[in-house]
């Protein structure tokens, strides 16, 4: 059909792109994770597993990784709890306002991440909107300290930022459910509640899995929210990676942590894809 030159012209650019900007950096990172830093702050290209050993031995690394996963898990649950009802309402009950409401959900995505994170800082701080309000109505005497610079602030901000990411695939899955299935369920005597749990929810599971994966993976790797709002107790694994590549100048250890995260995320994506396949019918 097509000439070989045409085929090459079409396939080569993406191939080069993937190789240069994805495969090679990953390979390089993989190599770095086995190297080490000398006393004189140069990279020594001697192969060993010391970085991975350190990762397991030093508590702060794996504890931070676990805490990051715990934060990401909470963000995922809250995003789903907020995103699902919203998507369900929009898909099934919004009627003519559907498009408008959909746009309203999407618009925050156009606002810079930084602006939204700073907005929460303004709201949650000691002199912030929330504390001022609470004291004004005499609910509290002193500013609540746990609001800002805490895991709470990080979870809240990340939930706000990533809920649309959970919402979108759920909404898409709900939109794909043929409405005659809902009618068939009612026709067979199922109440709206039974219809939701027996037909609508099972058929929306691929969207829930995709949304959960988005929320979890994106918040697991986040480093701006913990940096701006997390304080010492809200540090996440990406902050450690950033400082290892920056101030600490320990690229090999940073690469080892990055590689572990990469494995975790790839494993998660693989697992969620299996789950989605298992629950999709068409």
């Amino acid at each position: 059909m097509f000439s070989r030159a045409y085929k090459a012209a079409v396939t080569l650019p993406p191939l080069v792109w993937v190789t240069v900007f994805l495969l090679m950096p990953y390979m390089l990172m993989f190599c770095y994770s086995f190297w080490s830093v000398s006393a004189s702050q140069t990279i020594e290209h001697s192969w060993n597993l010391a970085n991975y050993g350190q990762l397991l031995r030093v508590n702060v690394y794996w504890q931070t990784l676990l805490r990051s996963m715990w934060i990401a898990a909470r963000v995922t649950v809250f995003s789903l709890v907020l995103g699902y009802p919203l998507a369900y309402f929009l898909s099934f009950y919004a009627g003519r306002k559907k498009d408008l409401l959909y746009q309203l959900v999407i618009i925050p995505l156009w606002v810079s991440y930084l602006v939204r994170a700073y907005a929460w800082k303004t709201i949650l701080g000691s002199d912030g909107v929330l504390n001022t309000l609470l004291q004004y109505v005499h609910l509290t005497k002193h500013p609540l300290e746990f609001l800002l610079y805490s895991p709470f602030a990080v979870v809240l901000t990340l939930t706000h930022i990533y809920t649309p990411f959970a919402f979108l695939p759920i909404y898409a899955a709900l939109e794909h459910i043929p409405r005659n299935l809902v009618e068939a369920s009612h026709d067979l005597g199922a109440t709206p509640g039974q219809t939701f749990w027996k037909v609508i929810f099972p058929l929306s599971i691929p969207g829930v899995v995709a949304g959960a994966t988005f929320a979890f993976v994106l918040s697991l790797g986040d480093f701006l929210a913990p940096l701006l709002l997390g304080g010492p107790s809200g540090i996440m694994i990406s902050n450690i990676v950033v400082s290892l590549f920056g101030a600490a100048y320990n690229w090999p250890l940073g690469a080892a942590i990055s590689f572990c995260m990469l494995l975790l995320v790839v494993g998660l994506l693989f697992f969620s894809e299996r789950l989605e396949k298992k629950w999709s019918f068409s």
């Binding site: 043929p178 005659n180 299935l181 009618e183 068939a184 369920s185 009612h186 026709d187 067979l188 005597g189 199922a190 109440t191 709206p192 039974q194 027996k198 037909v199 099972p202 058929l203 629950w279 019918f281 068409s282």
Partner: protein, 366 residues
Amino acid sequence: MMTASEIPMAAAGDGLGHATLLSIRNVAKRFGKNVVLRDISLDVAEGEFLTILGESGSGKTTLLRIIAGFETASAGEVWMGDERLDRQPPYRRRVNTVFQHYALFPHLTVEQNVAYGLRVAKRPEAEIASRVKEALDKVKMSAHAKSKPSKISGGQQQRIALARALVNRPRLLLLDEPLSALDANLRRQMQVELKSLQREVGISFIFVTHDQEEAMVMSDRIALLRSGELEQVATPREIYGRPATAYAAQFIGHTNLLKGEVRAGVVRCGVLTWPAALPDGPALFSLRPENIRLAAGTPAGAGMVRVRGKVLHQAFHGATELIRVDCGDGLVLVVRTPGSGGSLDEVELGFSPADAILVRESPERI
């Protein structure tokens, strides 16, 4: 147009002497400014197979959806016995539907699909198992009980949809063009199966279709719907033999529409004249092609209307042959004969005045 009392009905109910099950009273439906149904009144008897026949856009599916509860009527009432049906949500109505594209739940097996209605009604598991098995046996699908709907053919999905509805023992089954997605052979086979299944279970069926042949083959009665109004409600034989309107005559089978003028007990229609006890004025008649005979050589029967004409076209259909004959004065008749034996040039035609059925005009509607 036509009010409910004017619509010819076969006795009360279905003519089989059964009690009325469902009563549709003066139902109308508007979507915004668009009037889809106007003033529909129709009774369905116990155990009756009633077909709602109409072209696409005639409102037949909307009427079915009002009975099922997926649409609310803009006016009128639907009663089942002494229970007002149209005020109930669909899940409280003892009515089940076989959907046009079956609407089987893709995440459930065939068996789970059939069990769905019983499960949500929280019947005991033992009862569910035996009734599901019975329903699957009835539609000859027991072998596929564990399959997912995507793994079985269209005809098989059709049967599962039927079993899923019937297992609930509804008082009324609604079928929304259930055979339209099947190929011609399977379709004919399913028509027969569906009809005999209906006889066996004794449940009233309301069957929606745009296919007049299907309606003729299966129904006890046909309700012909046109642009949101009932054109005629009658048995297939009656609606074919004595169509009430020009539209009914043309939609169901072929016909010759003769526009004539009655004067002093004689109809004059171009070169044709025949006696008829009708008031003076214009009149429209339907004359079925098979009621016109090639009369060459046969002795003139008492009261036969005879006319000579030139053959325009002959179409051989195997068992019968359709011949278009120009009788002069702009009158062209279509004649169906059981084989003419060869090509014809000039023919003499004859028909009995009793076969020229007076029909009402069907004015254009929006």
